[in-house]
Symmetry: D2
Subunit: 364 residues, 4 copies
Amino acid sequence: MTKRIKKIGVLTGGGDCAGLNAVIRAVTKSAINQHGLEVFGIEDGFEGLLHNRMHPLGMEDVSNILTHGGTILGTNNKCNPARYHVEVDGQMQIQDLSEQVMGHIKSRSLDALIVIGGDGTMAVASNFARRGVNCIGVPKTIDNDLESCDVTFGFPTAYYVATEALDRIHTTAASHHRAMLVEVMGRNAGWIALYAGVASGADIILIPEIPFSIDKVCEKVTDRSRHGKRFSILCVAEGARPIDGEQVVARYDHTSADPVRLGGISRIVADQIEKMTGIETRTTILGHIQRGGSPIPQDRLLATAFGHAAITTLMAGKENRMVVMQGRNVTDISLYDVVDKQRLVPMDHPYIQAVRDMSISFGD
Amino acid sequence: MTKRIKKIGVLTGGGDCAGLNAVIRAVTKSAINQHGLEVFGIEDGFEGLLHNRMHPLGMEDVSNILTHGGTILGTNNKCNPARYHVEVDGQMQIQDLSEQVMGHIKSRSLDALIVIGGDGTMAVASNFARRGVNCIGVPKTIDNDLESCDVTFGFPTAYYVATEALDRIHTTAASHHRAMLVEVMGRNAGWIALYAGVASGADIILIPEIPFSIDKVCEKVTDRSRHGKRFSILCVAEGARPIDGEQVVARYDHTSADPVRLGGISRIVADQIEKMTGIETRTTILGHIQRGGSPIPQDRLLATAFGHAAITTLMAGKENRMVVMQGRNVTDISLYDVVDKQRLVPMDHPYIQAVRDMSISFGD
Amino acid sequence: MTKRIKKIGVLTGGGDCAGLNAVIRAVTKSAINQHGLEVFGIEDGFEGLLHNRMHPLGMEDVSNILTHGGTILGTNNKCNPARYHVEVDGQMQIQDLSEQVMGHIKSRSLDALIVIGGDGTMAVASNFARRGVNCIGVPKTIDNDLESCDVTFGFPTAYYVATEALDRIHTTAASHHRAMLVEVMGRNAGWIALYAGVASGADIILIPEIPFSIDKVCEKVTDRSRHGKRFSILCVAEGARPIDGEQVVARYDHTSADPVRLGGISRIVADQIEKMTGIETRTTILGHIQRGGSPIPQDRLLATAFGHAAITTLMAGKENRMVVMQGRNVTDISLYDVVDKQRLVPMDHPYIQAVRDMSISFGD
Amino acid sequence: MTKRIKKIGVLTGGGDCAGLNAVIRAVTKSAINQHGLEVFGIEDGFEGLLHNRMHPLGMEDVSNILTHGGTILGTNNKCNPARYHVEVDGQMQIQDLSEQVMGHIKSRSLDALIVIGGDGTMAVASNFARRGVNCIGVPKTIDNDLESCDVTFGFPTAYYVATEALDRIHTTAASHHRAMLVEVMGRNAGWIALYAGVASGADIILIPEIPFSIDKVCEKVTDRSRHGKRFSILCVAEGARPIDGEQVVARYDHTSADPVRLGGISRIVADQIEKMTGIETRTTILGHIQRGGSPIPQDRLLATAFGHAAITTLMAGKENRMVVMQGRNVTDISLYDVVDKQRLVPMDHPYIQAVRDMSISFGD
């Protein structure tokens, strides 16, 4: 028999993402207003749970945070209490402090946890779910690459910001005779690059799902130039990579095992383009501006729906589920099923075909 | 047997809407690049077809229009060649000039028409479809209320603009002790009001689907005031209406048969609130700023997908279809099925329940 | 001898305006960090001072408010303690409660007041300045019409918002054959209309400083139409008015002594244009969205400079001054000199001549 | 005696900058409408003048470009006809092709040139001015560092974009325990960094005018951390540099003579902070998004005023002048006086003192 829920904790884990506060607000408002629950805000993800840092969240605390970026609870993208790094006698040791966490959950009388985070955070939560703590997950990834979930909050703001940046770059490229590359997030999946690329009218879009040939990329740039187009815009996912066997030789690759740290795949591609086509080439790496800041309206809606669904799921007596969006419906899957399996852009996605038919190149 | 398509015309009809140019661009680029078609841009909707005003559209003509609001073809929201108003001997007569249109289509050798517009435009197109012109429709409504279509382009920009306005109003309301109403579009369906209302954290949302009681509205405002909330934000669809039997007496209603023309339902509600609660109340009617301007990235994507799908549908040999979006897929329905049947917000929509559980009022 | 300043109060009066929080933050940070003062935040303008509602403001309280619209202190645009409306035996009486305010200032040991507000607020402050309270004023008006001050915070955000709205309207107008009017704030001075009009490329700009002739306005609209321009954009200050002797007959003027309340001068002008030119005409009244919301960067800078200058002026031993901006310098004038004298747009302003030379019409 | 002006050419040189199209529009509209001039648009700066690539500009050509980024004329930031690189017998030679340019100016009957560009472009123009071509300059620099000119167009948009980016970074930094650096443009002058830094509430602002000590920077970061501030935001001009004698050791400096190419001063500072404080540190280099895109309203106004003033100056019979803005007035200086002398941020600038008093650090 499910015991009656009276008191819950909510935490945010992993990297920042537009819409976190909107989730916290929806969770808190739904819990208090509809179900009369007591809500505790746990600080800095599982780090706060480990050190018993939490405080009551009332309606007033979540008032006016809907439009704010970041998370009022703070976050932490490293802490796993089951494998906690502690210094003992001057040496780092890894200890399992799960029981310490269980003790705080018990002493605080938390009947359930709302865990907002990505794969890593859900894996940490699973550990406590197995120990009997009802954990309801809310998925968080700006990359939009969560299996079983059609769209995640944070992604709309991320590609909105990327599109705005590409719009600005566009006019500069058009005024000079240049190839300009904009590198966006997406280590394994190319959602942001595909959406921002199509939305901004990019000429070449490089995504991890479609390995590119540097020759084909240069051919497209040269071809445009020959047809009187004074410029080319490339939207490049950070995880874009060349086809097997092809060497994209980085100018800097002799100085580091990790050329990406020195500026990303886009710099390497840019160097190649400039060398092979003789056309002036410039690169911009957008980085963190895709993560933070006020969520666009679509993200506020998604985040509100997710947060509300977490409470609805919990109060329906379900245990250890993660809420997901499928089509236009919010539903839920087992928390244990959230493995490190990524939802890549499928090759039959409508935008993939549109891109090909409209003569935008994937460099393949 | 379907005859081979070589030359098509494209036109935009009805009111302005963010994303029209993106559709025209996708239609033109897909048609030329993928299928080697010739494309003609018809000016000002069916008016241009009637008067044979059209011009070739090449890749260059649609370059750089993706981000621009409006339509490079011009539009017209009145012309129906089958019932055309002409002046004869100083008197207005209604004439059927359909054959004149058919003549131009024939003389220009147009094998098909891509018709971008709303219900009215599709009805006009049906007339020519019945006469043997293959018409492929692309639905256009910022109201998002098209039956059989989950989301229409223009709607995301409309509720984005409305949300931005509500955000600005919010801080003013919070600094004074006021109720502030923002009236948004939506004569029959409350999509914009619901989405913008939830996204901006409105306290009361009035939509046509849920008739409101002015007493309940005032009660909510008073209740918030009693609990120390210094203000209330109301997001009101232009088509919101009171419950049967309830009289929302307009201060101005004795001067006009149409109080809405004098300022809309929001002014009437505002007057009532001020009178009944004694709380200072202000109204803003957003109007046309919801229609125009640069489309947000989501609309550019939707419009591109719709435009591309129109050509794919046409070249697959289909006739007299309208492309629609269902779930994440683009598909098509019969042009003749597009009747004046509106897709209202369903009462089991996730946001409806979220609103109720989070103590936002529909005034019911 | 000036007594040493140890404790100050800060209040905001009058209507909302982008940048108020940025002023409060700069005042508080400068006062505490540089001069070691104690700062009290007075709630809801002079209303809070009258009822002794105030609370300490620390560095933490003003953290993170720079970008937020509105005022964390609340405001009030009616309270004048010297002429306070009170109910006595069921009748409204006007009483002078100045001494009650003086009592609170004394009991709280406030050595000075930082008063952020417009003409009205400064007039109220003068009363207490005369009674010996050192009042340092910070001018606030989105209308930019303060004599002796080249630019006021709030104005840049106001014309930014107005320009954005005009940009959106522009594409709708261009897609139809229409005249579209946008009414912006400015009851006596046309700064917002002039700036937003020029920045958005409006065709006709109506400001209070240049009375318009409805014939000239219609002539310009017709002239554009004749030269193939499918539309006209009019940017209209709420205080625009016709030349002497000319009757701009409002369709609604028989129902009210105050046609402006029924929709503003822009509606009246729109009716005339439609009637006289036969061209479809639409109106949007922007209203409160010009006041609120996050200040644009320029306003955050101006507001920070003003707030900092208020403390610098105070700590330099000055008394009863208002800080103003002249050229690029912040300086100060006597608080008593701030009379109800408005800085109108001068006819030799560079934009006035640019407008005329570029064939934009003032309707004169 | 000045000969009557009938026909002018206009060109844009140097890097892209928000507002170029607005200048071209104001030049063309004023020239045609007010003075009946013929206007020729010269393509790609002096490159187009050298190769006689130019075309007539009418009212229609500059319609609707006010809000667009970039330049419809194209630009070129390398071409100097007096020192032109040509290939002769497989070898690069530098030739003086000034006479070829003079020939085209004569054959086209251009009575004057409106030259929109930076220092470099003005230097090239001077060469032709000395040969008898009346050149009226319009200054262009997003860096705002032109001697004799209080504010230049492009700068407001640049610091607006930088502030928006900093706003987004802010929420991410606040949610994690991090120092985050944003590198903005400004090789010699720190205007963008100062304005964007103050407008976004940065904690540390590094500008070329105030050499920083890495110890002081780290001290500030640590100090904030000790006082419970979970994060620090650094706004860094690309030209910021350490105090004499201090070594800011780059991790990468052994691999390149030019560490800036590898990621800029901000990366080097970030590495130092992380190493010296142990606090996680991240860097974002904004790059080209500061240059391009739609100009904010303030830039459209400035650009319009500059363009209009160029024609007014020309038609007043002046020769070889550059228009500048001083205070609120547009005036002009000798084209020959525009030397490579930069307007640095003066140490008595109001924002410098405000920063210091509000406990924001310059790292000194």
